[in-house]
């Protein structure tokens, strides 16, 4: 009894090693799962993990570990946590870190480092990870003093998940992990240089409301900022209240229901004709959480030339970066939209504009070629939509299949769409699906990949088999680096330099080697049948779909051209 009282009055500090402290700190951040791969410099961390477990996903390659963490973060909204060893382990993460930076995904990445005493001596498996990752992280730290580790971890999670999310890296020298200390854990962060603003300026909000009331051709461009800000509901309310049509960026898909009458589709290089012409003709463009990426804008000279531009973004540096902005609003998307909705907005007189756009949608729908034998990739995507009732979590790799999925799947809910937008990373889609499935074990997760990109990270079949993750892998097999082939056909006079890939594994047998059920289909009838069977099973499956080899993604804004210069608008 006495002893108990004493403990309560004066909690004894517990001595622990850096590695144990690391695990404790992760638990305090409510980390449920980490994605990683061990090695010399992180052996102490893994030993602590062995004794005080947090669920650990052993990918077969660090690149896949980090893409899985990205997929996990994208669909769950929680930070993805990654561990890799020093040197090669860390450098294998570079692509994923860059990808997360470009697409604003919250990650906290831990890399091992050689012991402090030998840093700078080109020691075994030493790499200057801080130097390498400085331009590709939101922030990075090297731990020099164990007593700083609790603060650093707290700050890293805070920085990764607030403001504009992004990857934060912590480099932990091996001796720091083995040193023993009596740690003090912190809950508050004190970062005077990092104070992201989330609340919009009232005057700017009023200015926007006035501009809306006066607009004749208003348009909303909704990007991933709406998803990060959990503002899809507010966006819907705002669009409906003002009756303003909506265009999505590639990464913004799902922030607005695709079947909504106000939805014009995706804008940009492979966006719909109507979405792009709407941006071209608009007199008021309200950008909510998009960064005016060049794949969206096309040639900037012809981007929204007649529009007053309002831009709501949590990152002030995005405002005015590419496009001159008349109404800058630095804010969280949700807060800004709420403030707008509080205002009793006057809907603009834009009947004519909406009619014009409706007419354009009718006149210039997405189309597909009727040539060639084989499965139409566009039809295939629609089938996947129908079989999953449009409710699956869909990840893609990069290339033609990515664009067809963006065009045809028709996302109606937020955070069900996972793709590599800014960096365009082949090899991303399959591991990202693994991370998404781990976040949502009961949901249908479909990984759509090209035959080339799938081969960049296919080793993760091992992970899927081991965890019996019911990921559905659908390969759009055109036996080519399809998107490269398409550009060579259009812009390089059909000189198919290194873009044809006729020699490939038997994907069904490959899946079989991992104990995963595989199918190969070469007609739409077969595809439909197999999809119905496979997509409802609780097992992992791989479906190799032989699609039309020469099918192209249309319409398209050719490089250097403007929004109004789309090609392939009609058959």
């Amino acid at each position: 009894m006495n002893a108990k009282v004493e403990t309560k009055a004066k909690p004894l500090k517990q001595a622990m090693s850096g590695a144990e402290l690391f695990i404790e700190a992760l638990k305090k951040e409510n980390v449920e799962v980490v994605f990683g791969y061990p090695g010399g410099a992180v052996l102490p961390l893994y030993d602590a993990l062995y004794r005080n477990p947090i669920r650990h996903i052993l990918a077969r390659h660090e690149q896949a570990a980090i893409h899985a963490a990205e997929g996990y973060a994208r669909v769950s909204g929680k930070p993805g946590v990654v561990i890799a060893t020093s040197g090669p382990g860390a450098t294998n993460l570079v692509t994923g870190i860059t990808d997360a930076m470009m697409d604003s995904l919250p990650l906290v990445v831990f890399t091992g480092q050689v012991a402090t005493g030998v840093i700078g001596t080109d020691a075994f498996q030493e790499a200057d990870v801080i130097g390498i990752t400085m331009p590709i992280t939101k922030h990075n730290y090297q731990v020099r003093d164990l007593n700083e580790l609790p603060r650093i971890i707290r700050e890293a999670f805070h920085i990764a998940t607030t403001g504009r999310p992004g990857p934060v890296l912590i480099d932990i020298p091996k001796d720091i992990a083995t040193t023993v200390t009596e740690p003090t854990f912190v809950t508050d962060v004190h970062l005077p240089g990092y104070q992201p603003n989330t609340t919009p300026n009232v005057l700017q909000i009023k200015k926007l409301a006035e501009a809306i009331a006066q607009a004749e051709k208003p348009l909303i461009l909704a990007g991933a900022g709406v998803l990060h800000g959990k503002a899809a509901e507010e966006l819907l309310a705002f669009a409906e209240e003002t009756n303003i049509p909506v265009v999505n960026t590639l990464l913004g898909l799902g922030s607005f229901p695709a079947d909504h009458p106000l939805f014009l589709g995706m804008g940009g290089m492979h966006g719909t004709y109507t979405a792009n012409m709407a941006m071209y003709e608009a007199d008021l463009l309200i950008n909510i959480g998009a960064r005016f990426d060049d794949r969206l804008t096309g040639n900037l000279q012809h981007f929204a030339p007649n529009a007053m531009v309002a831009h709501i973004d949590i990152d002030p540096a995005e405002i005015g970066k590419n496009v001159d902005t008349h109404i800058p609003i630095v804010a969280d998307a949700k807060e800004a939209l709420q403030k707008l909705l509080d205002l009793e907005l006057t809907a603009p007189e834009a009947n004519e504009w909406r009619l014009h756009l409706k007419q354009s949608q009718k006149e210039f729908p997405l189309w597909q070629s009727e040539e060639e034998e084989g499965i139409s990739p566009q039809q295939l995507t629609k089938m996947i939509h129908d079989v999953t009732s449009g409710e699956a979590i869909v990840t893609t790799d990069v290339g033609q299949h990515q664009m067809w999925t963006a065009q045809y799947y028709g996302f109606s809910q937020p955070n069900r769409w996972v793709t590599s937008g800014g960096l365009g990373t082949m090899g991303f889609g399959f591991p990202a699906a693994i991370g998404a499935q781990i976040a949502h074990p009961d949901d249908t997760v479909v990984a759509i990949a090209g035959d080339a990109g799938f081969q960049m990270t296919l080793q993760e079949l091992g992970l899927v088999a081991e965890l019996k993750l019911p990921v559905k892998i659908i390969i759009y097999n055109n036996q080519a680096l399809g998107m490269v082939r398409q550009w060579q056909e259009k812009f390089y006079e059909e000189r198919y330099s290194q873009s044809l890939l006729p020699c490939q594994p038997d994907f069904v047998q490959l899946a079989g080697a991992y104990g995963i059920k595989g199918y190969s289909v070469s007609t739409e009838e077969e595809a439909e049948q197999v999809l119905k069977e496979a997509l409802t099973s609780r097992e992992p499956v791989l479906i190799d779909c032989r699609i039309k080899r020469k099918e192209k993604v249309y319409p398209m804004i050719a490089p250097g051209k403007g929004l109004h210069e789309m090609i392939g608008v009609r058959p």
């Binding site: 801080i130 130097g131 400085m134 331009p135 939101k138 922030h139 090297q142 020099r144 920085i159 970062l191 005077p192 240089g193 990092y194 990152d315 002030p316 540096a317 005015g320 970066k321 001159d324």
Partner: protein, 173 residues
Amino acid sequence: MKRTVTVTVLNQSGVLNRITGLFTKRQFNIESITVGPTETEGISKMTVIVHVEDERVAEQVLKQLNKQVDVLKVTDITDQAVVSRELALIKVLTTPQTRAEINVIIEPFRATIIDVAKDSVTIQVVGNFEKIEAMIELLRPYGIKELSRTGQTALTRGSQKQVTDLKQYSILK
């Protein structure tokens, strides 16, 4: 256009690298950069002279710097009343005949000779960019053997008025 930007930073390891790396990544062209401790412990200040194409890029420089977690404050002081100074060390070839001439040239600049050798002198001069440029031009005919400049460091003036006349200066004053 040329902008003078001061950046107050937390004195963390790697912070200089972070700032210069950012300039490289965004292709902002640095003319000079100086860094040193401030009156507050743990806080350093950099003065960056940067060449930018237009206002948009100038704004990007400030915003990108501001985004850095270790950056506390960024100020474009180009259009403010500032005192800016740079130090240059100039080793000039001399002969017995030219030595006196050089003395006469540097005197109005309030420069000093800090090292004398048989065939050269090393001159130290402190001033703003234009003053140093002017002196270097005058010394060039004698043969400049070596030149080392610190880059400019700057503070805004205590009072932002009565500046215009101060900005003007004559090298012969």
